[in-house]
Symmetry: C4
Subunit: 126 residues, 4 copies
């Protein structure tokens, strides 16, 4: 498994954390997640930058994904340097020092039954 | 951040704005969105062209996304040169003068609980 | 617009048409769709082949998408050479004589509120 | 059809099998699937490795997809070397000896109406 798995930069253009939820917490809390796989044999030191429609980007938020591990990072839980505002449009760029794979998922439980979306993030190889 | 983030042309083959909605407006209005991230240091001047099944394409619609900003553009809100008809199949091509990343999302609230879909748009590098 | 938009071969590995539906017909009929954009100035002659888990592939099904048009093809409506069975796992390959872009969408209305999924199909450039 | 269709390695960074379900079994059981198309004329011998957040990867799980067939593999059904725990974050890597195409789908029926997500997996060509 010496081959690189993934790339070092990923983009998620969609981003929105609903402030309302229905159902048991925390599994049914409306949330937005970036699922990261580090298939390499080195820890991945990751920086996430958040972009907004009306102000300068915020970050980086620091996340570590150990070698041969996955981490499903809820944007809801990113607090340093500051929480991501709810009900607000944003985008994110995820940069790592080793190749990773990133996938974007949202669970929206604002109405009576939850809705889901997911897509592999955009692998920026430019 | 001098590296290009994304490409200059994106395609969304799916397109359909339901005319019906349930729940509070405007967040639960059935809508279709292209989320655009401009991670560059120059404003992005964007042209969106809409394709139909039975008539010539309409557009371009003009959208600007400032440097280091995101904009989540609701197709529902595009009115110039003309509104996009509801309950109608369409596709779109998004062209920019600087590299961007585009992601497609729909919220469908026609029934009792909303449904969501999302996918990174097709980056046309041909 | 002389540049090619898309590629000539696309793959959708997921495929499943639920036999049950709730809500008004045909918009709320459970269905599976491939949305095709032909952004070129020539008509696209398209062949769709359906793959199953337990028998030889069926097809090709023939679809034409005129120049500068989109067509959202419901797999439910493909009948020649034969209808696609409901409640059955399948995959599809879409081949065109001019470059196109293809996106996969399902509306599932088996339960009280509809569910949606969508993804850009896999562009086979191999 | 001598051209390769797809690639030999795919990554799904998102993974989570809900332990609860509503509605008739097995079609409405909450499940997670990788849909695999083998469009080649040789059988595909596939190995799936599962990555976790807090322990070493498990696998490989062995799956065969015959020539010119699709197989929609439910992660719920993978039992050898051991079942995948429910309500647990995971990721997966899918490796094949012939080119394939892989797409990820989840049906979540924990609440009153099912939710769906799908995305083409990440084709690792590195």
């Amino acid at each position: 498994m010496s081959k690189a798995i993934g790339v070092k930069e990923w983009v998620i253009a969609e981003g929105y954390i609903p402030s309302e939820s229905r159902g048991p917490q925390p599994q049914m809390t409306s949330h937005e997640t970036v699922c990261i796989l580090n298939g390499s044999d080195q820890d991945a030191h990751i920086e996430i930058t958040i972009y907004f429609s009306d102000k300068e980007p915020v970050g980086p938020y620091h996340v570590t994904v150990p070698a041969r591990r996955t981490r499903h990072v809820r944007f809801n839980d990113l607090n340093d340097p500051k929480p991501i505002p709810r009900d607000t449009d944003y985008s994110s760029i995820i940069r790592s020092d080793v190749p990773i794979v990133a996938q974007h998922t949202r669970l929206d439980s604002r109405q009576e039954a939850n809705a889901l979306l997911s897509t592999v993030a955009y692998p920026n190889a430019a």
